[in-house]
């Protein structure tokens, strides 16, 4: 484990991964996760390590500021920066919650059928939230409408009733790592599939479905 000056964050995420990032890099990552989440049609992988580290940084800075001398300007500059970071963090988490509420049966189903070792799209808290949300929705529908229906119509299949995220929607992306042979499938039947290469640094408009794994791996960023 290395230390870079006094700015390094070291974090072992349940012993599986060690991230050594400077705080600046951490904030970059948070902002990227925020942008990706905003533009992706589905709920992306949960990033608990980023969220926790950012919260720690903010708390740490808060502590420092409390102890610091009452230098108005310096303190207010730090506070402004912290507010900006807090905004990104809460916007990121709100975006995720919105998607969880919108696609709750699919999100829960995906979690249920997730293979071992594959990272989850829900943090433990989000998972609890999703389950509660489902339970409340069920109760609500039952009490408001279903129990007044004829007995054979009293069940609601949420997986069929709630629309799935539209993975075929188009997204803009910027390429971080060069990719070759990405399959592009045009909508119209007369057009054949073709492959393209994604050059590093280039920007594209393409269907989300094709490049979803690249977003997850960080090879492309949504913009």
């Amino acid at each position: 484990m290395t230390e870079e000056l006094d700015l390094t964050r070291q974090d072992s995420d349940e012993g599986s991964e060690e991230l050594v990032l400077t705080p600046a890099e951490l904030i970059e990552r948070l902002e990227q996760a925020w942008m990706n989440e905003k533009f992706a049609p589905e709920l992306l992988e949960s990033k608990p390590e980023i969220v926790e580290c950012v919260m720690e940084q903010l708390d740490h800075m808060e502590e420092n500021l409390k102890r610091a001398k009452k230098e108005d300007l310096k303190v207010s500059i730090h506070q402004m920066e912290m507010e900006r970071i807090r905004y990104v963090l809460s916007s990121y988490l709100r975006c995720r919650l919105m998607k969880i509420e919108k696609f709750f049966p699919h999100v829960l189903e995906k979690e249920k059928t997730r293979p071992e070792g594959e990272p989850s799209s829900l943090s433990p808290e989000e998972f609890a939230f999703a389950k509660e949300f489902m339970a409340h929705t069920e109760t609500y529908l039952k009490n408001v409408a279903l129990k007044h229906m004829p007995p054979n119509l009293q069940k609601v299949d949420f997986l069929r009733a709630v629309p799935k995220p539209d993975l075929d929607s188009y997204v803009f992306l910027r390429v971080k790592e060069r990719q070759e042979n990405i399959l592009v499938e045009p909508e119209a039947d007369e057009q054949k599939d073709y492959v393209i290469d994604l050059e590093e640094g280039s920007q594209h408009l393409i269907r989300y479905r094709t490049i979803a794994p690249l977003v997850a791996s960080g090879a492309v960023h949504l913009i």
Binding site: F39, Q57, L73, H78, M80, R84, R86, Y87, I196, S202
Partner: protein, 206 residues
Amino acid sequence: MDAAEVEFLAEKELVTIIPNFSLDKIYLIGGELGPFDPGLPVDVPLWLAVSLKQRQKCRLLPPPWMDVEKLEKMRDHERKEETFTPVPSPYYMELTKLLLTHASDNIPKADTIRTLIKDLWDTRMAKLRVSADSFVRHQEAHAKLESVSLLGRNEASPSLRQEQTWLWGTAAWPQEEQAPPARSGPRARPPGDPALVLATEPSLSG
């Protein structure tokens, strides 16, 4: 992503200021800034520059590209070319708007600059509309775009994405492309979501 959020991202861009105060180097979470010495230029992110300017603690310097002659050349070049020409900065619209709103006294020929940038924007939006229209008409599944800023993409994207997902039939292109909403008063803060607030709303200082 709405215009306020795009502006939020644009505020990270570095601009040069001339402070009238002195302060040691500060170690923000996002990096180091300063030291600040009266009269000596220093680069800071736009959000800080605007705040300091509002507190009358500095003068803002226009970025090198914010010059009438250069912008005139850029505008003419953009009008001549069919494709998009490189822009001075990915956030040229937001930078211009913020700098001209808060520091027009520090920027020579501010009104001319405003007009030139608007012309540049209009030309580019027209091109974007044309290319997006053709994208939808030919039912393309992929497009490569250089040099189109986030604001430009945002203006085009809801309709673009909608048209693509309802591809069958001719998609009408929306008639009005509005310029980003003008903001009055002090620096706008990112809007809060009334439904769920996980932290206190960012407050403006200064």
